[in-house]
Every structure is written in structure tokens, then in C-alpha cells.
């Protein structure tokens, strides 16, 4: 691919990334407002807005990983595998802690945030592993 063409594609991807991040930030606020309204239709719409708000960011992430070269795809694959394992362990731990009355059921936003932080750490650690000399 021509450098100029690639640059334009990267700029488009950057704007799409910014847009998806804005949606990611605004959707939970809009969803909460709709849910607070109280009516069944409003709460249902709130759930839809909350879930759909995540989709552009996830879709763009998928596109970026798909476009990447074989090493970057491997790095992402390993990071996602680590994060999935961590996520499952986190949910199992929370489940048992709640079951044993040690904690109250946590806010899902906290679980989601912990999972995303774990994803970022796994990604950085995997990248570091592939850059370090044997």
C-alpha cells in the first residue's frame, strides 16, 4: 500500500478511535439517565444504549487487530487470552466471596474497569516480552 494511502487510512482510524471513545464515554451517562426515568420503555432503551455504546469501540479494536501484522496479532491474541483467564478468575473469586458473605455483590462497572485495566497490563507485558532479547 502506498505511504500516502496508508497515512490517510491511519488518520481515518484515529478519528474513528476518538469517535468510538466519545460514544464509549457518553453512552453510560445517557443510559443511566434513561434508566432513572423509570418507565419500562425508558429502562429498556437505557440497557440498549448502554450495551450498544460499547460496540463501535470493540468493532474498531477488532478492525485494528485484523489489519495488524502477524506479530501484533499474536501479541493481541496472547493478551486477550491472559485477560479472559484473569476475568474468569476474578468473577469466580467475587462469586465465592459474595456466596460466603464476605462482600456485597460488587458494581459491574468496577468489574468491567478491573477487566479493562488487566487487558491493558496484559497487552503491555506481552509486547515487552516480545521486545526483550532472549
Amino acid at each position: 500500500m502506498e505511504i500516502n494511502q496508508q497515512f490517510r487510512r491511519n488518520v481515518r482510524t484515529f478519528y474513528a478511535w476518538v469517535g468510538s471513545m466519545v460514544i464509549l464515554g457518553v453512552a453510560p451517562v445517557a443510559a443511566s439517565r434513561l434508566i432513572e426515568h423509570g418507565a419500562t420503555w425508558s429502562r429498556a432503551l437505557g440497557v440498549i444504549v448502554g450495551v450498544v455504546g460499547f460496540v463501535p469501540w470493540l468493532a474498531l479494536l477488532f478492525v485494528i487487530i485484523r489489519r495488524a501484522d502477524e506479530v501484533m496479532r499474536r501479541i493481541h491474541l496472547i493478551a486477550i487470552a491472559i485477560t479472559a483467564t484473569f476475568g474468569l478468575l476474578l468473577l469466580i473469586t467475587i462469586g465465592w466471596l459474595v456466596h460466603a458473605w464476605f462482600i456485597e455483590p460488587p458494581d459491574y462497572a468496577f468489574v468491567c474497569l478491573a477487566w479493562m485495566i488487566a487487558w491493558l497490563i496484559a497487552l503491555l507485558a506481552t509486547q515487552r516480552y516480545y521486545e526483550r532479547a532472549r
Partner: protein, 65 residues
């Protein structure tokens, strides 16, 4: 798998970014291959061999060889 990628790249005075651009991969990919953390796919190995004008065996060597 052992390789001579760093040596061949240095001989041509190319940066990792430059080599990556020539074969259509990221700088991270070149780093991962040079540090022998990642074995490239056959298409990428062929691209590298063609770029340096040498047979694949002159760049990559199996560990047990």
C-alpha cells in the same frame, strides 16, 4: 529458530522501521524476529529473503541444526 536478520539489516544501514516498511510489517515485528522471540510465517520469511537477495536458509537456521 536462530536468525541473522539484525546482521543483514545493519549491513545495509536500515533501521527497524525502514526494514518493517519494506516488507510491510511493524517495527515491533522486526524487533520480535531479531530477538528470536517470534518465528515469522513462510510468506514473511520469503519476503525477507527476497529483499536481502539470499536464500531463506541464509537468514534462518533451526535451533537443532
Amino acid at each position: 529458530m536462530k536468525n541473522r536478520l539484525r546482521e543483514l539489516r545493519a549491513a545495509r544501514g536500515w533501521s527497524q522501521i525502514e526494514l518493517g516498511a519494506r516488507v510491510g510489517v511493524s517495527r515491533q515485528a522486526i524487533i520480535a524476529i531479531e530477538t528470536e522471540r517470534f518465528d515469522p510465517s513462510l510468506p514473511l520469511a520469503f519476503k525477507l529473503a527476497r529483499l536481502f537477495g539470499v536464500p531463506i536458509e541464509d537468514i534462518f537456521e533451526a535451533d537443532g541444526k
